[in-house]
């Protein structure tokens, strides 16, 4: 792979990673949000595979494929299973009343991108490679994930927000150091998988106990 194609492919994959993250703010339909999350998982896998091909490292390519399987396949499948069935009350499958509306959310995403660029400077300075230059993209997705987490009011949107943060951290790990050591990466993936399973069970319990998954209903406990 020539230098130029490498940089182009890496930037393409990172661009897709960023775009899918920001579009999560744009859609209100939970099923569409899950599809965007799956697409982002595929983009993450592509980043890792491009890095692997560039470094002629079979391990990285395999890691990329495994990540793709987990984050574009298994995790979206698990979230989709926790979505309400079709024909249920329409409000259940949609983000009806986000705390910040869609237009303002997209503006906020632009501001978050600026913040991410500022924060990433010390990280780029110590090793200015094309991969390190893509770090602000990962940090932007991280901040967008936080934003989703605090402004969206459906239980499953919060799960997606958490997973955006997790995708962003994985992307950071691969862009900086080709990933954390294997035993840690396996542990992290297992923890994320189990966290999503636990959250989907709790979503179902919430639906049974509160009659919905609107997080504004969670106000039994307060001081």
């Amino acid at each position: 792979m020539t230098d130029q194609t490498y940089v182009q492919l890496l930037d393409l994959a990172c661009g897709a990673f960023l775009l899918t993250g920001v579009l999560v703010l744009w859609r209100r339909d939970l099923a569409a949000i899950v599809r965007l999350f799956a697409a982002q998982g595929a983009a993450l896998a592509a980043i890792v595979i491009v890095l692997g091909v560039r470094q002629a490292s079979t391990e990285l390519v395999v890691a990329g494929l495994a990540l793709g399987g987990l984050r574009a396949g298994l995790l979206p499948y698990l979230i989709r299973r926790a979505l309400p069935e079709r024909g249920g009350p329409d409000a259940e499958g949609r983000e009806t009343r986000p705390v910040v509306n869609v237009a303002s959310s997209l503006v906020a995403a632009a501001v978050l991108a600026l913040v991410a660029y500022a924060v990433a400077q010390p990280l780029i300075r110590i090793a200015p490679s094309p991969a390190a230059h893509a770090l602000p993209v990962a940090l932007t997705v991280l901040l967008v994930g936080f934003f989703v987490l605090v402004t969206r009011r459906r239980a499953l949107s919060q799960v997606v927000g958490f997973l955006l943060i997790d995708n962003a951290i994985t992307a950071t790990a691969f862009l900086t150091t080709n990933g954390v050591p294997l035993v840690v990466e396996l542990g992290v993936s297992l923890d994320v998988l189990l966290a999503v399973l636990v959250l989907s069970v709790l979503t179902n319990r919430m639906r049974a106990a509160f009659g919905g998954t609107d997080l504004d209903e969670l106000r039994e406990l307060r001081d």
Partner: protein, 495 residues
């Protein structure tokens, strides 16, 4: 005994007990399995402590993935002691829940599996040589305790479990990002690849790590592990989770899980001090410590729920621990560790006795409990003594450790911070004593006031033993002194 076995036992024994519960369920014959595993953990911890005292290198096992030094051994003792108390109290607690038809055999089996796996994960966290494995173990505790928090399946329990998993997973994700960045800085400083997340290796190479990257990494690590340690500003999950979980689980979560998360901060602090100088983490820790104390004081003042009162008291004590760690001198670190042990013993005794009060009264409101001293002198006495211990009254060990932290802070130039902390602690003393008076003294309530609070002997023993140990430690720490000193040494204590 083979040191490898000693290091593996604290993780292996509870894991085996978890497998036992998975296979046979929670029944009369298996009910004491958890207590046996906890006792084994405590024994292994004590032997490890004897071996590692004064030996800075520690004992390695599992191909270098695990390592036990005096600090790990000390934390294992805290885990073992609190786990033993919680597991001794569990059979009678669950029997009462089963008798009241609030739970069934499937849920009790799950309780057995999850509590044991939870204890194993905590043991793994303090034994991990690799910060990544430590992270995985701490995150695993969140996942394993999620269904324990939601054990009662009520609206409140489901809400608490949801907030708990979301806030803690996100907080701990920040710590993962911090680890990724520390790994990046380490590889850049030519730390060998296989040791780039090992805390001992990182501490040795700390001076070469890039300060710009490490500043971000350390801030994220302190904030992330601080979330699990219940430190403000990421404490919001704690009062909900600790008040909704079954009493023995609350004892474990409040008594040790918070300290295990704080242990991660102590390991990070050694690396951070080497890379950035002591000022950076000190500032961070002073800020979170004072914020935690302020939050605890503000919310304890008008607290109407005695389980939440205990939970906010945990935030207070983690704040005190963080303040001591900010000081960072040898005296301060020894006092911090003693405080962790004293808080573990005292808080677990309190949560266990609050569980029996809750089962008898059927409510966790302070107003629902009146005249406890006359109705149930044993429970009331344990509850009162536990509160006095937590408020830092002599002879309990929390008095000694708080005095140690205060003295060290004045010597170490943090006098203003400790003065603010003492003012907040006075507010807390007044608030807690006021609630305690309402619950313990006065005439029993007219309606339903006759419900007897039954404290079974198997629960009374760990509660009384925990309080007694806490008092004895306050008078004479005995052989623990050398262990505390060598553990404090490992936290990179200055001077």
């Amino acid at each position: 005994m083979d040191p490898q076995v000693l290091v593996l036992a604290p993780v292996g024994l509870p894991a085996l007990a978890a497998a036992g519960y998975a296979a046979f369920g929670w029944r009369r014959a298996t009910a004491w399995l958890g207590a046996a595993a906890a006792a084994g953990l405590l024994a292994a911890a004590i032997v490890l402590a004897v071996r590692t005292t004064g030996d800075a290198a520690g004992v390695a096992a599992a191909g270098g993935l695990l390592r036990a030094d005096a600090l790990s051994a000390f934390m294992l003792i805290v885990i073992g002691a609190v786990a033993l108390a919680a597991m001794l109290a569990s059979p009678s607690y669950l029997a009462a829940e089963l008798a009241a038809r609030r739970t069934g055999p499937r849920a009790t089996r799950r309780y057995g599996v999850l509590t044991q796996a939870f204890i194993a994960a905590m043991a793994l966290a303090v034994l991990a040589a690799n910060l990544g494995v430590l992270w995985v173990a701490v995150e695993a505790t969140t996942i394993l305790t999620a269904f324990l928090v939601g054990f009662r399946r009520t609206r409140e329990a489901t809400e608490a479990a949801w907030k708990y998993v979301v806030i803690c997973s996100v907080g701990i994700a920040l710590a993962l990002l911090g680890l990724v960045l520390a790994h990046y800085a380490a590889l850049h400083a030519n730390v060998p690849e296989d040791g780039a997340l090992d805390w001992a290796v990182l501490a040795r190479h700390a001076a070469g790590l890039d300060p710009g990257v490490m500043r971000i990494a350390v801030a994220l690590l302190v904030l992330g592990f601080g979330t699990k340690a219940g430190l403000a500003p990421m404490h919001a999950w704690l009062p909900d989770a600790h008040s909704q979980a079954p009493a023995p689980v609350s004892a474990l979560m409040s008594g040790v899980l918070l300290s295990v998360a704080f242990y991660a901060i102590l390991r990070v602090k050694v690396i951070a001090d080497g890379a950035l100088g002591v000022g950076f983490t000190r500032t961070l820790l002073v800020v979170v410590a004072l914020a935690s104390l302020a939050v605890a004081a503000a919310l304890l003042l008008a607290q109407r729920d005695y389980k939440r009162l205990l939970a906010y008291s945990s935030i207070e004590h983690m704040g005190i621990v963080a303040l001591g760690a900010a000081v960072g001198t040898r005296l301060a670190m020894a006092a911090v560790l003693l405080h962790v042990l004293g808080h573990g013993l005292g808080k677990s005794a309190l949560f266990l006795s609050s569980g029996y009060i809750h089962q008898a009264v059927g409510s966790s409101r302070v107003a629902a409990v009146r005249g406890l001293a006359r109705r149930a002198p044993l429970v009331a006495g344990a509850f009162a003594l536990g509160l006095l211990a937590l408020l830092g009254m002599p002879p309990f060990s929390l008095f000694a450790s708080e005095v140690g932290i205060v003295r060290a802070a004045f010597d170490g130039g943090l006098g203003w911070a400790v003065a603010a902390a003492l003012a907040l602690m006075l507010v807390i003393v007044a608030a807690v004593l006021g609630r305690a008076r309402q619950m313990l003294l006065g005439p029993p309530a007219d309606d339903g006031g006759e419900a007897a609070v039954r404290l079974p002997i198997t629960a009374a023993v760990p509660i009384v033993a925990g309080l007694a140990a806490c008092a004895v430690l306050g008078v004479a720490a005995g052989p623990l002194v050398t262990l505390l000193e060598s553990a404090a040494e490992l936290t990179g204590a200055v001077r």
